[in-house]
């Protein structure tokens, strides 16, 4: 077992970090303050393959392995979690289901533009009465001669305000009048598709999270992803992949908060000595570092499982559960170490604190992750 990162992974980390520190960091605070999606930065990210991280090269992507993908999201989120969110959602639950379940024609039609960053992906499951309970989806799809008519409202859609290619969960009736779940690919210029107002959220403010409306929105049959009734399978597979991305995002936030705390603890003087000389602060830093390291190992194990073709659902849930919990705890302590300044917008840690919380909620709450993990444990043969 080799715990040392290979040269490729080191280079991926440095590459993303260099770009994020130079091109994103100077603007992050203002983007958060203005709740503005930085299209000008996205333009710079497009040729660097951020929008096709794991897309095969034949479709214009970088063709990275999952550990590289996790490292890229971690480093990006360390500087700007809202952009990290955009990139991970686009790559995982936006593109991956098309690569996994799409026809050749669908891959050729949708993936190159998505990998180039010209069409940002979104994944619409959550509704007013459905979220953790995917069975509660009310958006419906009625089949006509050549396609499907979609009606319904999706809420809290990450990338909603800038999306170009949308995967929509909708129920329809099978021949026996039973409800079945399906996934449709909807292009943003379809009649009947509307973007709602951008949500005013606690964190991730530079990501345009919004509601999406489908009002008699017709899509052709060739826009059905997978087969009729495969919606739950596609959704769960997509979320397994998405959870690796969110775990990486949470890890990046935690790492940023930790580094700020170490730096501040060395500089800030109280009682004529730096904070870092106080055992209480040392204990805080030790706990933060330990949790971050454990999070990183869980994350890379889940990514390695996916790369080796093994089942990784439980591993991805463990990584997501633990990394998001670490992010919440570490950012909380980071604010505490910074004292009054930590609560001020003058310092970045209050943003880390706000951004961290939602990692325990989206792409499956922590409670849902425990359900997934428990189901995996209990389904094992004796």
């Amino acid at each position: 077992m080799d715990f040392n990162p290979c040269l490729k992974h080191q280079l991926i980390r440095k590459t993303v970090s260099e770009f994020a520190e130079s091109e994103i960091k100077p603007h992050v605070s203002l983007l958060d303050k203005e709740s503005r999606f930085p299209q000008e930065i996205v333009e710079k990210m497009k040729p660097l393959n951020f929008f096709g991280l794991q897309v095969p090269k034949k479709y214009g992507g970088a063709g990275l392995d999952t550990i590289s993908y996790a490292i890229a999201i971690e480093e990006l989120s360390k500087v700007c979690a809202a952009l990290g969110l955009c990139v991970t959602v686009h790559n995982s639950v936006g593109i991956f289901p098309i690569l996994k379940f799409g026809t050749k024609e669908q891959k050729k039609r949708f993936v190159p533009a998505m990998a180039a960053g010209e069409s940002i992906g979104a994944f619409c499951l959550t509704e007013a009465n459905a979220g953790s309970d995917a069975g509660g989806v009310e958006t419906n799809a009625v089949e006509d001669e050549n396609g499907f008519i979609l009606n319904g409202t999706k809420i809290f859609v990450t990338n909603g305000g800038v999306c170009g290619t949308i995967l929509v969960f909708a129920v329809s009736e099978d021949a026996n009048k039973n409800n079945i779940a399906n996934v449709f690919i909807v292009e943003k210029d379809r009649d009947g598709f509307l973007v709602g107002e951008i949500e005013d959220l606690c964190g991730m403010r530079a990501n345009p999270v919004s509601s999406l409306f489908f009002e008699d929105c017709w899509v052709p049959k060739k826009n059905l992803l997978g087969k009729m009734g495969q919606g739950i399978k596609i959704g769960l597979t997509a979320l397994d992949t998405g959870r690796i991305g969110i775990a990486a995002q949470a890890l990046g936030i935690a790492q940023a908060a930790f580094e700020s705390s170490v730096s501040y603890a060395k500089e800030r003087q109280q009682f004529n000595k730096p904070l870092s000389k106080f055992q209480t602060i040392q204990n805080y830093l030790a706990d933060m570092a330990t949790k971050i390291e454990a999070s990183r190992l869980l994350l890379y194990k889940a990514a390695a499982c996916k790369d080796s073709g093994k089942p990784f659902s439980a591993e991805a849930s463990m990584a997501k559960l633990y990394c998001s919990s670490t992010a919440k705890e570490v950012t909380d302590v980071a604010v505490q170490i910074h004292g009054g300044y930590g609560y001020s917008k003058e310092y970045d840690v209050e943003r880390y604190f706000r951004d961290a919380k939602v990692t325990q909620i989206y792409e499956g709450t922590s409670e849902v992750q425990k359900m997934v993990i428990a189901r995996s444990i209990l389904s094992q043969p004796k």
Binding site: L11, F19, F50, G52, A62
Partner: protein, 277 residues
Amino acid sequence: MLNIIVCIKQVPMVSELPWNSKTGTLKRELAQGMMDPASRRALEAALQIKEKQAAHICAITMGPALAEEILHQAKALGADEGVLLTDRQMAGADTFLTSHILAKCIQKECKTFDLILCGAQTSDSETAQVGPQLAEELKIPAIGYVNCVEVKENIIEVQRHVDDFFEILNMDLPGLITIDLSAYKPRYLALGGVETAFEKPDIKTVSAGELGFDKDFSALKDSPTRIIDVFSPTTQKENRVLKGAVKKVVDQLFDDYGKVISSAMGKDLKTHEHDEA
């Protein structure tokens, strides 16, 4: 096909370097390495030439085994091959021996080169000696501190900024140029490039023995120059806390430091008039 050699160097990432507060020196063993910024500009110049005409880029570096990383980075950016000169016998080489070893390597591994590009000076030692010395070793012409390169048949035309004017020079090939740190803003590395570079991860490794040095050769001992000491320059810093009512404190600040601040800003702080000079 233009055969280009780019000499690159791995240097410590100074922003992350831990300092030994007792000795005032860098703890290099704890430092992360990165491609020297001037080397990266030399590589960028080569990549821009390759975008305009058929060219083969060979990146060469000399250093510890870990320096392999920057050769992969060079390949990810668009270099065609990487050569790593690494051997304990070469450790501690000064600029004179570094140039000598690089020349021997080039004569052995890349005889048919047309153009050698180096960074003008590296960020860790800033001697600016290796490029010109390498040209002397290979008996080829050299031009330093170049801002712009254009290849024309068997000559190259370069431009450089000298004092307050630009100088345009022609040079026969083969030749060597060093690229100024202000020129050729390096491109960011695309993540797909990293993946491609590692699909064919071969880096040619060359030892001292393969270049004809005998087993008694030691670059550290045989270098004609020695570094006696490395230290961070001491600066005189004084912190003063001005206490009292704001108006009184500001007046005192102007009285004590007004001239210095005005001089640095180029305008009179009290009248807000700009200094015409």
